[in-house]
Amino acid sequence: MSGYSAIFFVMMILIFLIGQGLPALGQVEFSSLFSERWYPIEEYYGILPLIGGSIIVTIGATIIAVPLGLGSAVFISEVAPRWAREILKPMVELLAGLPSVVLGFIGIVSLSPLVREYLNLPTGLSALTGSMLLGAIAVPTIVSVAEDALDSVPREYRNAALALGATEWQTIWTVTLPAARSGVLTAVMLGIARTIGETMTVMMVTGNAAVMPDGISALFSPIRTMTATIAAEMGEVAEGSSHYHVLFLIGIILFLISLVINVTASSVIFKKTNRTEKILS
């Protein structure tokens, strides 16, 4: 029953978003919508820089969070002694409870000046600072889910590998991780979904300049994300104006992106186990 209610709520949200967002396509010309200038108070509604900004920050956060998160998960699940595991896992999960506005504040006050000085950038309020903080937000999700997946790999797999003469390192890389890959991929996908939807932190530290990112160098300059745009501007728009509908259109795009991420994640989970695994289990 509650499962169905979740579907019901998602459908209601989707219907609401479409109802409020699609009129934008009628009010704002397509060429204007897909231009590179976002300045809504003068009716420039180019959403490309916002999409680009979100993608750049998310890629940056993924590059930071995935190795860190998976590394921690492997360490906690496979390497650390039991007592360390008992301490580490709750600590990491505690990190997940840190409010994003607190992280954003830390970002403004201490991380952004550091980024500016060490990388000699014009300003520290950049996509990179946002990525680093978003990475910190995604790591607990990744660690928590991936650790559970690694933990559920049967003991026998590891014992068999070790008995065949594999080192502990080889066992982790060639047996345990591949066996847990669906759970590990879910962890990564959930982490990415978490970063793309994050609002407060990016609004505080990325500078919010709607510049079209050109390649990877954009990581070192200010950008403006879709979420920050909605958060910063939704409070002032008059209901029913083109600006209002365009903001909801951005909401639809965000919704679609996280839908794609979730569908990808679940299609990985439900993929049939391959033949070797069937024989082994």
Partner: protein
Amino acid sequence: MMRVKKSITLAIIFSVFLSGCILNFSNNSGSDSPSSTQNLYIENKGSDTIVNMALAWAETYQELYPEIRISVTGGGSGTGIAALINDTVDIANASRQIKQKEIENAAENDVIPVEFIIARDAIAIIVNQDNPVNQLSIQQISDIFSGKITNWSQIGGDDRPIVKLSRETNSGTHVYFLEEVIRQGDKEDATLFSQDTLLLPSSEGIITEVRDNPNAIGYDGLGYITDEVKVIAVAVTQGDDYIIPSVASVNNNLYPIARNLYMYTNGEPAAHVREYLDWILSQDGQQIVQELGFVPILDN
């Protein structure tokens, strides 16, 4: 979404209200028992430039008249005026005059905005303490923010890139700066902020970045300027007198980037709202304006 928005607003109002109660407790002014005369409620919302001043007014006024409850929230001039149009506030604060389009929107909802000028404000141009530049003309400031000047060495500073900081587009200060500084009051001019201008969500954010970053230039209401940043002297055209913004230079109409601050009500305000506005415009109310670094309007 609407419901969420409303409940967030409610939560903010509630927390402001709550903090007011706590303040009352600590002041030991427990004279108003719950069963005393019915409380009159004034809801006040809008410009972030005005919000500190509005809070100071509200606190002082509630001490004088405990039966009045005033809740103050920020959010930007556009937010305040939008709330007035939807008739959800008693007083909207705005750091810019209401637009013709907003008056029309209001008329559709049977709301007739009435204007009160409640203080004046100067917009200060600020840079880092280590920046050797001391003075700029309005034309130079316009060229910086529209992206024509991109290095401090072009205007007599060090060889550093210029990082431009602005408030978000929902800020009255942003709109005022665009119209009066970047476009220099020319309505036909369609110059915009350069695309790489950083739009920060708060005045404090601008002050923090200017304080830490020697490349930065920003603007902010005079009331928000702290000693940690350097205020630039401004001239209308190059060669004129360069004026530092201050209460005196604004009141004498010497400093060029100054504006009125407004409150709007729906139609002629109710008696208790009217009394509050009269008090704001009185000597006592304007004293608070001066204390917060804005410019009182008594002299006019």
